[in-house]
Symmetry: C2
Subunit: 339 residues, 2 copies
DNA sequence: CTGGATTCTGCACACGTGCCCACATAATGT
DNA sequence: ACATTATGTGGGCACGTGTGCAGAATCCAG
């Protein structure tokens, strides 16, 4: 039990295997070990093989903290998620995490829904982050400038942040709902309603305008509208009221969750969807495809958006001082059974 | 443009503000700055205030990489998620992330569903992780031993990993489905079916046994069973077949998603739930509460489980050599409209 | 054998911090 | 007045790595 380790430290807490230990065991210098783990480095092939074998056996990997300290690049990326409970955000983050992993960038998740989110950001800035990715939600202006001051590149998606040094990836929301509205107009619908999300979210406002503009060109107007919070439960509650008070034949919703809530409400009220009422969502989450919903909706392309975020990240790392960009993504209509 | 920074380095890439820079600006020693950011440290109060002000103005925070390198504790926690698309796992991770953030532990997410997950784990081990948390899914045995070799404490939840140095938090699955089955028996149901998940997941097997044991005590047997993959789509497909081929009056499902699929199937087949058929899920995800499902289910307590994971983490960090523990969580029946 | 070219390797520095230690100053006790 | 204690401060080491540099080793042609 009291047998000492190779080194004479008290070693109350077991430390990591170090490059020096591997070097000693393999009978080479520490530099050689370091080179064995550096892709383009100059090292005799046979020696490299020996070192790799010994290292694997001892359970050695270069310490990423030390490496990051050396070259100022941590490979850590903070991901600030507005609302992790939201289905779309959750699908988005899932895709994002997968692609970051594949790139050997490590996503640190921060729950923006939490009260202490600001504090969390402040704390996580202690790491020299490669970037901070914002997914939806709203981050206080002050925090954005604070991050810029720390020199952390920011990439926002789902909400445009107008600030020098912040790159954006965003969906052409108005185009999306415009497409949907046009389909309904072509079908002969005339009595339109809009079921929005929280007004502080620009996406809901943009989507609303998309409907209004297209209606306007056709000489039509919104007959009724109401504001929810992007969730199924609230969507249902709001829609029950909206549909009872107004005789609508078309309802465009700010997102799929709201639309699914509205669909439930319509059925509870005895309305036949799509005969009596056309119903359209936004996002095209997996649930929209379920046979019991079969929701007509606007696809908000996750893979495209994530790819653009990754591309922006790589460009930004290659050229830290570059002009900030805003990439727009084109949504498209997905016809299913509710329109 | 060619104006040099305070220091005479070429500074092609802008570096972080350092403690030395703050010390120079505030007219104190670097040690003083360090102390200003160390909670219990000895420093004149007025001096501390000055330093804090200057530091905030310059955008200084201690570099967590350097600090971690120094004391061998990175405050990073890898979270390996079996399937981020699963609703329950996503709710679980959301809760876990929130509580880790509150503790100033930073969760690095790894998507276990991805092909390259093994490689990702190998790479992320370069960071001296405080711990590795496994949520569901299945991690290859070899990787587990590899992590242990690296001295990274592991906490598994949703699936018990029998290995020295791995702590576990797990639900008493059999008890849960047993409770549900008993309720149905008391209601007079006799013709039971079980809709399971992938058999490689121990949770599904345990839940199945829970039903069988209770049926056995009542002199009953499973009439039919089928195996899905925990998703709504597959649940529906399997249930369509199962319900068409057997005249059941009770169907216990391995999880809520399967149950919701089965509910859809039952309705498509014209069955009245709960009159003709009692249907019970497992997990109690948010969706189970939606009025259009109103699913009777077994609550698989997320908050309790996450709290236990956090507690285990803290105990493990306080005493790295401690015996590994297995904490069992008690699920409970949630009566709603489908039984 | 010798000089030069080529291939390989070890030394030592820097990255930014926390903390121990020695020391300086102020406060207190005899 | 001096000894002793409390309080505050700066110097410097260690954490583990990547890499420039100079020098060692090897090889080849003359």
């Amino acid at each position: 039990m009291s047998v000492a380790q190779d080194h004479d430290k008290p070693a109350d807490r077991r430390r990591r295997v170090t490059a020096q230990a591997v070097a000693d065991a393999a009978g080479v210098s520490r530099s050689a070990v370091s080179r064995a783990f550096t892709p383009g480095a100059y090292l005799d092939e046979s020696k490299r093989r020996i070192i790799e074998k010994v290292a694997h056996h001892m359970g050695y990997q270069p310490n990423a903290l030390a490496a990051g300290l050396k070259d100022g690049r941590s490979h850590l990326v903070a991901v600030f998620v507005g609302n992790m409970r939201s289905t779309y955000d959750s699908e988005f983050v899932s895709a994002l995490v997968g692609k970051l992993n594949a790139l050997n960038k490590w996503p640190i998740l921060i729950d923006g829904g939490d009260q202490r989110a600001e504090d969390a950001i402040e704390q996580v800035l202690r790491y020299p982050l490669d970037a901070l990715i914002l997914r939806g939600g709203s981050m206080p202006r002050a925090l954005v400038t604070r991050c810029t001051k720390f020199g952390v590149p920011m990439i926002s998606t789902g909400r445009i942040v107008q600030s020098p040094g912040v790159d954006n990836v965003c969906c052409r929301n108005a185009d999306g709902t415009g497409l949907a509205a046009q389909v309904l107009i072509d079908k002969g619908r005339t009595r339109f309603g809009y079921l929005g999300g929280a007004p502080s979210f620009s996406s809901s406002a943009e989507r609303r305008l998309g409907v209004i503009d297209v209606l306007d060109k056709a000489g039509l107007k919104l007959i009724a509208e109401a504001t929810g919070d992007f969730t199924v439960e609230t969507g249902r509650k709001i829609a029950l009221k909206l549909l009872a008070e107004h005789k609508l034949d078309a309802l465009v919703c700010a997102n799929d969750a709201s639309a699914i809530g509205a669909l439930t409400a319509a059925r509870e009220l005895g309305l036949d969807v799509p005969c009596d009422l056309s119903l359209i969502g936004f996002d095209d989450i997996e649930m929209a495809r379920w046979p019991n919903f079969d929701l007509s909706t606007v696809n908000n392309p996750i893979d495209d958006a994530v790819d653009q975020v990754i591309a922006l990240l790589e460009r930004r790392l290659a050229e830290p001082g570059k002009q900030s960009e805003t990439i727009m993504i084109d949504p498209f209509f997905v016809p299913r059974g509710t329109h």
